[in-house]
Symmetry: C2
Subunit: 108 residues, 2 copies
DNA sequence: TCGACCAATAACTCTCTGGTTATTGATCGG
DNA sequence: CCGATCAATAACCAGAGAGTTATTGGTCGA
């Protein structure tokens, strides 16, 4: 029963340095490992490990070219995350006791 | 420089049992600690700890009533998460090399 | 008032993982 | 070819944190 798709996403994006790498790929597109390492604040092997995890989660794609590897973000992989938040807020709005919540808040 | 709001959210929701507790509160509304513990699969202190973390993140609210404490979900706290994903997908769509991505994919 | 109950805290353990350095495998330039 | 460079892997370490049991502080019912 483990690992719905959003579980992997949350786990993967929970680490700040790993998330930062993904963010950079989103903002600036293709990057080599060296380029990413340059501004990651950690060693090259550390970056490689993060990229492997991101790839596992489907969040990045790699393309080998000569001796260097280019990575790029796959934003589509974020959809389970979006779906999950939609579900949660949906459940909440659907419940009758949203009113009750409000009352709770009034007498704090 | 640490802790943008979405950072706390990712870290908090990364743990499956903790996220399950939050999901239950979203689906079914107010719950006492005892009720949550009953189906959490972990001990009562563990549940209390998770609730504390969720509260820290603003994801739940507590209301003391006699000797029991009722917890409820605060879905509004998810908005930094939504904003973040919007940003990421936004960056991606904004980039010129979305085309490049496509080409990359063709010669895999 | 006393015993049972609820939730939070304390104190500890143990696993998981993010980091390191060292090494290997490939590929490029000269 | 040969040295340099890039990225991945191996082997290891240390800190974080999720879990446990034991305990405490309140509050209820009898």
């Amino acid at each position: 029963m483990p690992q719905p798709p959003h579980d992997i996403l949350f786990r993967t994006l929970a680490d700040p340095t790993r998330r930062a790498i993904f963010e950079r790929l989103c903002r600036e597109g293709n990057q080599t490992v060296a380029a990413l390492t340059a501004r990651a604040g950690v060693s090259q092997p550390a970056v490689s490990k993060h990229l492997r995890v991101l790839k596992q989660a489907g969040l990045v794609r790699d393309r080998h070219q000569g001796r260097q590897t280019h990575y790029s973000a796959q934003v589509d992989a974020l959809s389970p995350l979006i779906d999950w938040t939609k579900q949660m807020t949906g459940f909440w709005h659907g419940r009758l006791d949203a009113l009750e919540e409000l009352l709770d808040r009034m007498d704090q």
